[in-house]
């Protein structure tokens, strides 16, 4: 084998370049982190900041951000006489499960002991790591006992699970509307599939299984639903449950169904889409009468604290807050209070305190339920936040309280 | 057939759509010949070479090489039968050195497997050595020692033509087909290239040359075939061809 002197030189140079670049890349990892006047508690915001789910991600991130600022402005929290300030670090998971795992690994690597995240699809693969590294997590997930159970001690659910929304409120609404032919048309992701499971279970328990005439799953970035609507409308449904959509998806779904002559009713029990874009994109007339959960009408906010929060959010971001912004705000306030009460950074102690701690927040008393609760089968652990759950209906482009 | 012919072209026709490029052309080349193929532009000379070397398959007719029918074979298989060709526009691996260019022609290249290349087994080393030895032989033969490590693109045009011939003769072919090897060369380079070709012929290699340069063809070839508009219009020794009225007519027009 013949190797010229030139090629040896090349190889040496090549490897030198590699070594140098590797050093450069890794150097930031090795510098910094010496200044320790104020101790930091880091919470990782592992959320989608781009892509179709970005509006959910920002909503959650901003909710936590407002809470972090609030706690810090009040002087942080004191543990054993030392002051800690919260710091939120962001990581864009693009609503992709593997990216979310990557983000969590990055967060752990950066010293985050707390996390907020959203979406069953992206949370599920993180669970083994959350349990292993004992990351106290507040997450907006709809899925039921798959997430909240005695094995997942560190995972707290900020939003009402599908067991509360679909299985209880949903069935009530269907009964009230007198639904005879129900179609589930939801996103082809984990949230959609888990909603479908919960819905079918709930229908079975209530002996209503025969009303479900079709279930369809389409990708979350679908723009034209006409083909799939043609398929389901052939079954003459009188009610469509659009489960896991952000505003634009739900709006297009409703608009195009109306365009195809659908006269029945709509519910959206788990997506909590923003009303503004929903009305804008769907058209005021089309979205009239859509029933949704977790949304508060801006003029019917129950407490002064919530009104203040709403006003502050509007001032900062020029738009109304989404449901998971105040849900995560409240959950973080609770988490922060628990850390201070535990007087320890030991995750096990913190979560133990969290389960019993009750605080008053935006919507009144906030607490955790789940254990021995007949409504939440199989949870066996108090890791589900509860607060009043509004049912709203769109009237003239505005949400008002249903019933 | 126990004749001395190495290449037999029998009734070969080739159409492109409605265009007839070759019609019923037959000729044969004998071992050791210095055979020429001439004809005006568009006569179908290059098509003929491409049919023989398997780039095109003929619509009709057959090509036999060294007693074996080769029509319909893949080009690389035909080459491995012992037939080499060069291309009209000096075609080389321009970013490779002269030595690497010539190595590419060596027959043993085809035997290298991926695994032995990675592991560098003893069989791979012996094949490597065979390839390197043969390419050195060719370089010596063509007098390219000085330029052996130079990148082909940097060579003067005449030398590029010689390197192309080097690639073609590296596998020790029985028949070497040269498609217009003299195009674009100045007089001194023509002599140099033709000198190499003639000496290859003297060493026993059968040469089949397609050329425009009449002087070179008439000087060196032992037999010549003339094509015009896809038809064979004459065949014979240079002297006969020069006197042939059909040929003169087709070249000069009427």
């Amino acid at each position: 084998m013949r190797i010229s002197l030139k090629s040896i030189g090349m190889t040496v140079k090549l490897l030198a370049i590699v070594a140098l670049s590797a050093g450069l890349i890794m150097s930031p990892a090795m510098t910094g982190g010496v200044q320790a006047e104020v101790k930091k508690l880091k919470i990782l915001s592992n959320n989608p900041f781009s892509g179709k789910a970005a509006s959910w991600g920002f909503s959650q991130d901003r909710g936590v951000g407002l809470a972090v600022d609030k706690v810090n402005q009040a002087g942080g929290i004191k543990i054993n006489g030392e002051t800690y300030m919260w710091e939120k670090i962001q990581c864009d998971n693009r609503y992709i499960p593997a990216d979310a795992v990557s983000c969590l690994k990055r967060g752990v690597a950066q010293g985050a002991k707390f996390m907020c995240t959203l979406g069953g699809a992206v949370t599920k693969p993180q669970i083994p790591l959350i349990n292993k590294d004992k990351i106290v997590t507040i997450a907006a997930i709809a899925g039921g006992a798959d997430f909240t159970n005695a094995n997942n001690k560190y995972l707290f659910r900020t939003m009402p699970s599908a067991d509360l929304t679909i299985a209880i409120e949903g069935i009530k609404i269907y009964k009230k509307l007198g639904v005879k032919k129900l179609v589930l048309l939801t996103a082809d992701n984990v949230l959609g599939h888990s909603d479908a499971k919960t819905l079918k279970n709930a229908l079975k328990v209530n002996k209503m299984s025969d009303i479900l005439v079709a279930e369809e799953f389409v990708p979350i970035d679908t723009g034209d639903f006409t083909p799939v609507l043609t398929r389901v409308l052939a079954k003459n449904p009188d009610h469509i449950e659009g489960g896991a959509w952000p505003a634009a998806g739900l709006a297009l779904l409703i608009k195009q169904a109306r365009e195809l002559g659908y006269k029945g009713t709509f519910t959206n029990l788990s997506g909590a889409p923003k009303v503004g874009p929903l009305v804008k994109i769907g058209g005021k007339k089309n979205v009239e009468g859509v029933i949704m959960l977790r949304l508060w009408p801006p003029d019917q906010l129950p407490t002064q604290a919530f009104k203040d929060y709403w006003a502050e959010y509007r001032k900062l971001y020029k738009q109304d807050p989404g449901a998971n912004s105040w849900e995560s705000y409240m959950a973080f306030m609770h988490l922060s209070a628990a850390v201070e009460k535990a007087q320890s950074l030991d995750p096990d102690k913190i979560v133990a305190v969290m389960r019993d701690l009750k605080i008053v927040s935006l919507l009144g008393e906030l607490q955790l339920i789940g254990k021995d609760n007949p409504l939440l089968p199989g949870y066996g652990i108090n890791n589900q936040y509860t607060s009043p759950l509004p049912v709203t209906v769109l009237k003239d482009g505005n949400p008002i309280i249903y019933k | 057939m126990a004749d001395r012919s190495i290449l037999r072209v029998e009734n070969v026709s080739k159409n492109f759509g409605g265009l007839v490029a070759l019609s019923e052309v037959s000729f044969h080349i004998e071992k050791g010949d210095f055979f020429g193929l001439i004809g005006p532009n568009g006569a179908g000379k290059s098509v003929m070479v491409n049919v023989i070397s398997g780039l095109y398959s003929p619509n009709k007719g057959r090509v036999e090489f060294d007693g074996r029918q080769i029509t319909g074979l893949r080009p690389d298989r035909i080459i491995r039968e012992g037939l080499s060709r060069t291309f009209q526009h000096s075609t080389l691996f321009f970013d490779l050195s002269v030595r690497e260019n010539i190595m590419m022609g060596v027959r043993a290249m085809a035997d290298m497997g991926l695994a032995e290349a990675i592991l560098g087994s003893s069989s791979a080393r012996s094949k490597d050595k065979a390839i390197e030895d043969r390419s050195q032989e060719v370089i010596d033969l063509l007098g390219l020692e000085q330029q052996a490590e130079e990148v082909a693109a940097n060579l003067p045009y005449g030398l590029q033509k010689i390197v192309a011939i080097g690639i073609a003769i590296a596998p020790k072919p029985k028949l070497l087909i040269l498609d217009e090897p003299l195009t674009g060369l100045v007089a001194a380079e023509v002599d140099q290239v033709m000198g190499h070709i003639a000496s290859l012929n003297q060493q026993g290699m059968t040469i089949f040359i397609i050329e425009h340069n009449m002087r070179a063809v008439m000087n060196f070839c032992s037999r010549i075939v003339v094509l015009s508009f896809g038809n064979k219009i004459a065949e014979g020794a240079p002297g006969e061809i020069q006197r042939n009225r059909e040929v003169i007519k087709s070249y000069l027009g009427e």
């Binding site: 084998m1 040896i8 090349m10 190889t11 040496v12 090549l14 490897l15 370049i17 590699v18 070594a19 670049s21 590797a22 890349i25 890794m26 930031p28 990892a29 090795m30 982190g33 900041f49 781009s50 970005a54 670090i89 990581c91 864009d92 992709i96 499960p97 593997a98 690994k105 990055r106 752990v108 690597a109 950066q110 010293g111 699809a121 599920k124 693969p125 083994p128 992701n189 984990v190 599939h193 990708p219 | 080009p75 080459i79 291309f87 075609t91 080389l92 691996f93 321009f94 970013d95 490779l96 690497e100 590419m104 290249m109 290298m112 497997g113 991926l114 290349a117 990675i118 560098g120 073609a168």
Partner: protein, 331 residues
């Protein structure tokens, strides 16, 4: 020094230096170790992917489907070792993943190898895109939209007190194994044939070589190696889903070559180091990531088409030109 051994010794030295990184960082800055390991793992795996593509690029064609082959490797491993527990040894799962990628690459490669340039790019891209609906549609065996979770770490990785170190060394071995294989091929006669095909495949045919065979061979080998990397990634991430490796994964692998430079083997390595390092930092930047990416691509395409490895030469040229101008000005 024996000239044959020199490159090996250099490589070994660099490898040893990189192998010393974990204890070193754990000693100086233990709290930074996880982040360093995470970035190091990504870089080393990406070096492997980049080199595989570079090897194919030598034959003249550019695949925009490498993300698809990572997916195949990862999914095969995941399905076999996690979802159905058909294979109890994770290492064999990696091998199975690589074989699956190679078999699919063989079938696809045989069909598409006659396509050139943009057509080859588009067909490999379409292939990778087609995987997505397939994976999403079938709960069995692909796990549907949810994908596959709880993919275990390979045996032996438990020897290390924490998995970061284990994966770091695994990725280190992978990266250098790929480097070794690609380097061996590039220096061999097969490498010469590959390079020649990239320059003039007709002439290669008329050297008596069956171009299709070599192109498919390189494509299959590249995908085999990429498939192993997919398996390792599946273990490392512990969960994979149809969206895990996207068009952007494939694009990144091209960009390693683009940013580093395609001319030499150093190109994809440098590119992978820079871009995957940068990528990890840009995660935190969130939505600025796309802007930075776009600017990087445009910068390299328009101002430094030879990639990072051509930077010294480009600077030298710039510098000398300037001094010459000055001389003229002075004269």
């Amino acid at each position: 020094m024996n000239s044959r051994l020199a490159p090996y010794l250099t490589a070994l030295a660099v490898m040893a230096a990189l192998a010393l990184v974990p204890p070193l960082i754990k000693f100086i800055a233990p709290d930074k170790w996880e982040l360093t390991a995470h970035i190091g793992i990504k870089i080393l795996l990406n070096v492997g992917f980049g080199l595989c593509l570079w090897m194919m690029l030598q034959a003249g064609e550019l695949s925009l489907g490498q993300g698809g082959f990572i997916t195949i490797g990862a999914y095969t491993t995941g399905i076999l070792v996690a979802k159905y527990n058909l294979i109890s040894v994770v290492w064999l799962g990696y091998l199975a993943g690589a074989l699956a990628a190679a078999v699919i690459a063989l079938m696809l490669g045989y069909l598409i190898v006659h396509l050139k340039r943009i057509f080859f790019l588009l067909v490999t891209w379409s292939f990778a895109e087609m995987l997505h609906p397939v994976l999403t549609s079938f709960e069995h065996p692909f796990g549907g939209a949810m994908g596959i979770i709880d993919i275990p770490a390979p045996e032996g990785l438990t020897l290390f007190s924490e998995s970061w170190t284990g994966y770091y060394y695994l990725a280190l071995i992978y990266g250098f194994a790929v480097l070794w294989i690609v380097w061996r091929i590039a220096g061999s006669k097969v490498g010469l044939i590959t390079k020649s095909i990239g320059q003039n495949d007709t002439l290669v045919t008329f050297c008596g070589l069956y171009v299709r065979k070599y192109k498919v061979m390189i494509f299959v080998l590249g995908c085999f190696i990429t498939g192993i990397g997919g398996g390792i990634l599946a273990s490392y991430l512990t969960a994979i889903s149809p969206e895990t490796f996207t068009f952007f994964t494939s694009l990144d692998i091209i960009m390693f070559n683009l940013i580093g430079g395609m001319g030499t083997m150093a190109g994809p390595i440098v590119g992978a180091v820079i871009l995957s390092g940068l990528n990890e930092y840009l995660f935190a930047a969130g939505y600025w990531r796309m802007v930075v990416y776009g600017l990087i691509i445009i910068f390299f395409i328009t101002l430094l088409p030879g990639g990072m490895v051509s930077l010294p030469a480009a600077l030298r040229k710039r510098f000398t030109r300037k001094t010459k101008k000055q001389e003229v000005g002075l004269g």
